[in-house]
Symmetry: C2
Subunit: 196 residues, 2 copies
């Protein structure tokens, strides 16, 4: 094995994107608990799949029980949570996958950091803008009720701030829209960005 260290030309991101006929991107959904991030990510995911796109959702279900199971909800661990998600999303987008992340990610600074890690050309911030009253009115998981009783420390929107995106690539006001409307709105923005 004399030539073991001969330089092999590596497969490039461009070649993987060619193979997939799409560009790797990260759609970063942000918004309050109950705003509809996961629902919209799921709906968009289905739509993209039907169009033959390779996508993947990163959310609490597959991150908090796996990669980030050692992290608490302290401020520093929340920042580390977002940092690691950003690094994973970056790697997956580099592999050619269209990544959809669905995390509250309430702090401007953390999302700015995510954008820097992922690269702004690959980062699409999707602000799921649903008023607190609407989210709290839904309260599907009963979390707002608990938070109001003081049973959940640092609950975003109640005892911890949600810092709205200043200049998101996409903003969806879900309040007066159907899921299909919102999904189509995001898809419309996305289409030109992912075509290879």
């Amino acid at each position: 094995m004399d030539n073991l260290y001969t330089q092999h030309s590596a497969v490039t991101r461009g070649q993987r994107e060619e193979l997939l006929e799409q560009k790797g991107k990260v759609l970063w959904f942000t918004g309050l608990s109950g705003s509809g991030k996961s629902t919209l990510a799921d709906a968009l995911n289905n739509k993209l799949y039907k169009e033959g796109r390779l996508t993947y959702i990163l959310d609490g279900d597959n991150i908090r029980q796996g990669l980030n199971k050692d992290l608490s909800f302290s401020n520093s661990d929340r920042t580390e949570n977002i940092r690691r998600i950003s690094e994973v999303a970056k790697l997956m987008a580099d592999s050619g996958v269209i990544v959809l992340t669905a995390f509250i990610s309430p702090f401007v600074e953390d999302r700015k950091n995510a954008r820097e890690i992922i690269g702004t050309e690959n980062f699409i911030e999707v602000f799921v803008n649903t008023p607190l009253e609407v989210c709290e009115g839904r309260d599907v998981k009963g979390l707002y009720k608990k938070a109001r009783k003081g049973e959940i420390p640092s609950f975003t929107g109640i005892t911890s701030p949600y810092e709205e995106p200043i200049n998101p690539e996409i903003e969806v006001k879900t309040q007066d829209k159907t899921i299909d409307d919102s999904t189509n709105l995001i898809f419309g923005h996305l289409k030109k960005l992912i075509d290879k």
Copy 2:
């Protein structure tokens, strides 16, 4: 947006694999520094790409400077390094990608943990079995020389053990083989595992 919380059927791993016409897997290369892990991972990666497979390499270059840049080379941080790599590889394989990891990963316990995280049905341990003398003789990066001088603490093979895989899915004795031979050997084992 009344039906916001209507359950959407999620896109499954099987559907992604259908789209890619391949099964997501993790090829876990393990072996001494200089054994040829990265070279073989690169060569296999090229071969798989030519066959139209979507693959991705996780190695020191994209992990130690990104996701795991907060980790040192202490024993506990090495374990955490392997744990995080395993979690990322698991997610990527779940997206349908064939992942190739190239890390020394010297400890049986850590690799066992990797196998458990990734799932044994998706985990292919590739033991790049190159004798220490050969690796040290190559010493492309000059690391063995430094380690012998005591300039690198806990250097695998010199001042820290390398625990050989007990029952790896694939073993390559690189010593008397060309890169092509070794690559073909691994590819032969792999082909039946990745066909969808």
